[in-house]
């Protein structure tokens, strides 16, 4: 235990400092694009140090919960930092042209300078296109699932169709929606609504069926009607399923909104920007948009996951994690 702690105390700072030093050194005029074997040896050493540190950190089992959470956070952070540093070092050190692969530092610089453009794209794609479509798709999926539950004949007919439809390449309807609803955000919201509808329908259908007969019988002994049972028993029991669909849909919504923009947009939006800037080979801007998309997607996903924790704390899958 103490030897391992000593190793961690030695290797983690070594990896961090070495990585930072390498990333800075790579930019020196003599090194950039013409790094010698000594430089690459140093890069490999940093990589080894970080890998060993991550291994030891992962094997660590602190006694208290806060420490465990810290370890769970530190290991992936270390890994992510390692990837970024290696990316920077390799791209700059080997002189990879920026049209192929810009170094992270260039992307960050571009991100900082292009904030107004990125903000406008974010509003257009995330807030105007993805969010309304997401709400419409999820709510209507839930509504149809309840309807199908109320009318079993409809359910037996609809749910297999929905099961098949949820495996279909629905992004393909984007050109049709652009034709119907025009170039601006309504067509994107429509694509997102259709994409998010089916996962919610399938999951809500499974969730509504997840109530045991004992609970339902209990509700019946309380003389509870359909809507009372639905509100007090079955929807709360379906929450884990609903949140699965909400989380799946969070990424789908962003993808749908961005991909739909490839088929024609006003001159703003993340998908528009990505395709335009990729055609102009200014890849640092494209990567800045991707970083924005990743941030927005993770934040959206994280918000829903937090809400899930708050609302379904009783469920084993949450308690275990």
């Amino acid at each position: 235990m103490t030897r391992r702690a000593a190793r961690i105390g030695l290797l983690t700072p070594a990896a961090l400092i070495g990585g930072t030093a390498l990333a800075i050194a790579a930019h020196r005029p003599g090194l950039a694009g013409a790094a010698g074997p000594g430089f690459w040896l140093a890069a490999i050493l940093v990589w080894l140090a970080a890998t060993l540190a991550a291994r030891d950190l992962a094997a660590l089992e602190p006694g208290h919960a806060a420490g465990r959470r810290l370890v769970r956070l530190a290991v992936p952070l270390l890994f992510g930092a390692l990837v970024l540093v290696l990316w920077e070092v390799v791209v700059v050190g080997a002189g990879v042209p920026a049209v192929l692969m810009p170094p992270p530092s260039a992307v960050v610089a571009r991100f900082a300078t292009a904030l107004p453009v990125l903000g406008a794209d974010f509003v257009q794609t995330c807030l105007k296109s993805a969010l309304p479509g997401y709400l419409i798709g999820c709510l209507s999926g839930l509504g149809v699932a309840i309807l199908a539950d109320r009318l079993p004949v409809l359910g037996r007919g609809l749910l297999p169709v929905a099961n098949v439809a949820s495996a279909l390449p629905i992004v393909g309807i984007a050109p049709i929606m652009v034709m119907w609803f025009g170039f601006d955000w309504p067509s994107k919201a429509a694509v997102v609504a259709v994409m998010t509808f089916f996962p919610m329908l399938v999951q809500a259908g499974a969730g509504l069926a997840a109530t045991g007969s004992i609970e339902r019988d209990l509700m019946r002994t309380y003389a509870a009607g359909y809507s009372r049972t639905l509100l007090s028993l079955r929807l709360p029991m379906a929450r884990p399923f609903l949140f699965t669909a909400l989380k799946v849909n969070a990424t789908l919504a962003l993808i749908g909104a961005i991909v739909a923009e490839f088929f024609g947009t006003p001159i703003v939006g993340m998908g528009f920007r990505i395709s335009i800037e990729a055609a102009r080979l200014s890849l640092d801007m494209v990567w800045a948009e991707i970083a924005l998309a990743a941030l927005a997607g993770s934040a959206f996903y994280g918000l829903i996951a937090l809400a899930e924790r708050a609302v379904t704390g009783w469920h084993p899958s949450v308690r275990a994690g």
Partner: protein, 301 residues
């Protein structure tokens, strides 16, 4: 799984047919309403007296309708699948084959990668701790949006044609395989693992004899998701780069020239392809289950 099965099955042929019929009827109605103004305008321009029945008939047979009628799509499908020689640029089968080959290549790469990752995650704790959060995070990146630059970057590196599309398809399909396989490889109980250890089985033997067979149902469930995701990835990868062939290119060309019927036909071809691929995995699953001497479906799970 079992709950879902009871929820979906039980005498469903008739209701499904009803829903499909209702969808068809709704589609015809949408075609009628959606094309009404266009058809009325066209008739008025041609100088014909716009009576209701004439317009209604015209909505079903427009050159570039807002909503093509089902029979128009079917006839376009027939024309471009059977009517065109194989290998011609206008044959839908050629495009479908281009898409299918990239889909299968990406699916193979992605699922092998996913399985390898899952095995590493199950066996090496540091891999799990450092990689798993990023694997989850990687899925919140809208990779489909990144498709154009991956293709541009790989194209600049001299890789064109099938491989860039396959890379995107692989990225999309490794995740469900990894997650499903981690779950599946961890499915054997502690008792079963302990039994293997009393036989002094090595980790490799435990993997081959215990974990792998136990993971197969999970593997096939995630392969079904993965193959559908792989097809979506390939189609989207064909969109933004001016790909010459493939269902995605067909969609984009149809969208540029307003060829609605062509878009719908390509969409239906993609849907059929997706259904076929998922069905294929299902057949492989059944064959594997039989080969392993599983009990008939339903009781095995």
């Amino acid at each position: 799984m079992t709950r879902e099965a009871t929820f979906f099955s039980r005498g469903r042929a008739l209701p499904v047919a009803g829903v499909v019929l209702a969808l068809l009827a709704g589609w015809y109605l949408a075609a009628l309403l959606g094309n009404w103004n266009g058809a009325a305008d066209a008739l008025a321009r041609a100088g014909a007296a716009p009576d209701v029945r004439g317009i209604a008939a015209a909505t079903m047979a427009q050159e570039r309708p807002v909503v093509p009628a089902p029979h128009q799509v079917v006839s376009e499908l027939w024309r471009s699948i059977v009517g065109m020689p194989l290998g011609s640029k206008r044959s839908l089968l050629t495009h479908a084959w281009v898409t299918l080959s990239a889909t299968l290549a990406g699916f193979a790469i992605g699922s092998l990668l996913g399985i390898a990752l899952a095995i590493a995650i199950v066996h090496l704790r540091s891999v799990e701790a450092s990689l798993m959060p990023w694997i989850v995070a990687s899925q919140t990146v809208p990779i489909l949006a990144v498709a154009p630059i991956i293709i541009v970057a790989l194209g600049a590196a001299g890789l064109t044609g099938l491989l860039p599309k396959a890379v995107i398809a692989a990225y999309l399909c490794f995740f469900p395989v990894t997650v499903g396989m981690v779950k599946g490889l961890n499915a054997p109980d502690r008792i079963q693992r302990d039994l293997m250890r009393t036989y002094s089985a090595s980790r490799g033997q435990i993997l081959a004899r215990l974990r792998w067979p136990a993971a197969l149902p999970y593997l096939f469930a995630s392969l079904k998701i993965a193959v559908a995701a792989s097809l979506v990835g390939t189609i989207v990868a064909e969109l933004p780069t001016g790909a010459q062939a493939g269902l995605g290119a067909r969609l984009l060309a149809g969208s540029y020239y307003g060829q609605t019927i062509q878009i719908w036909a390509a969409l239906f071809a993609a849907a059929a392809l997706s259904a076929l691929l998922v069905q294929g995995i299902g057949l492989a699953e059944a064959a594997t289950a039989r080969a392993l001497g599983a009990r008939p479906a339903g009781s095995a799970r």
